[in-house]
Symmetry: C2
Subunit: 229 residues, 2 copies
Amino acid sequence: MKSGTKAVVLLSGGLDSTTVLAIAKSRRYDLYAMTFRYGQKHSIEVKRAQDIAAAAGVADHKIVDINLGVFGGSALTGDIAIPKDRSADEITHGIPITYVPARNTIFLSFTLAWAEVLGCNDIFIGVNAVDYSGYPDCRPEFIAAYEKMANLATQAGVEGEEKLTIHTPLSGMSKAEIIRTGIDLGVDYSLTLSCYDPNESGAACGHCDSCQLRKKGFREADITDVTVY
Amino acid sequence: MKSGTKAVVLLSGGLDSTTVLAIAKSRRYDLYAMTFRYGQKHSIEVKRAQDIAAAAGVADHKIVDINLGVFGGSALTGDIAIPKDRSADEITHGIPITYVPARNTIFLSFTLAWAEVLGCNDIFIGVNAVDYSGYPDCRPEFIAAYEKMANLATQAGVEGEEKLTIHTPLSGMSKAEIIRTGIDLGVDYSLTLSCYDPNESGAACGHCDSCQLRKKGFREADITDVTVY
């Protein structure tokens, strides 16, 4: 990859997307980060995303305001309580109440708009289908279908220009592999926030599914977890 | 179609989407209309959409605020002037500057979220590939790819439940056929606004591509155009 090629990177402020940003940087893309304030209870992650984007030296960082809370249907945006202390089996089977309907579809659609305006053919997203929460829009078959659709949605698609690619470098990795990859690339995981239910000062709860997946990842990677719980 | 089945209908307040709403109503769906305030200069259409939704007796109408103007790249949202008095040939060839990058992709993604929460498998959109402006995200191949993606994006897709359908009843119709269909269904086209550049009181300019396509449609349908130009 030659320098000067642009990539739009979805950045939540969490462990996965921060690792993806570092991977895109290591491939020498010019980085355009995009973060959403979508009505999530843990909106403190947006501030983390800003710090992470600045540390990575992105060319631009857009914070997009959309309110997914108007639809309801999720513990992340509505009045439903965030589940705590579920077993590993519960976490990785079925679709939990923290699932936000069509969230990745919506997020990717905004990256597509920005990529088209930037003249960019590379979008990065930190979906992962190993140590994940069973969200349908994290699966490889979803991403493949999205990419196909995206190539028909835009001007470039009509004109048969360069093909748009949705990069999912974490797709086949365990959480431990993701962390090891990030450490090798110099990621400072103390900047990241995985927790769905942090307190006001940003300390992680340690008990939600996302905290548990994170803890397990650090444990399996045999790396000290610097997260403040 | 039995009554009690829900449909989410994209409603801009224009001629096409208003006709689609009437078609969905004639098929006895319970109507859930969705309209976007997306930074369009002609945001007066949102008020029209509210009147149209009320007249159609929808069960709910969501107005979603998103700012597509942050990306630029379109005459509909940015500082670029709306083209006027283009020839029929200019209007129907190539992708014009009024194209908003990924707009239908984004709009459909929000309908998908709402449909999932409502437990609804039917989404209606007024895309048309005959008398249209050459936008890539109005073509049947785009809609087909979107539908395929959408069925992988959601909980229903994972669980192999009922298939989600993106209905495009206007896809093969000329503008004249759309108008005749709407008239047969009792649509009051005086409520609709097609113009990209209306004045403050909502009168249409009569010269933008959308006004020209509308005028041509009424002329070819041999129906009096009640629009105030």
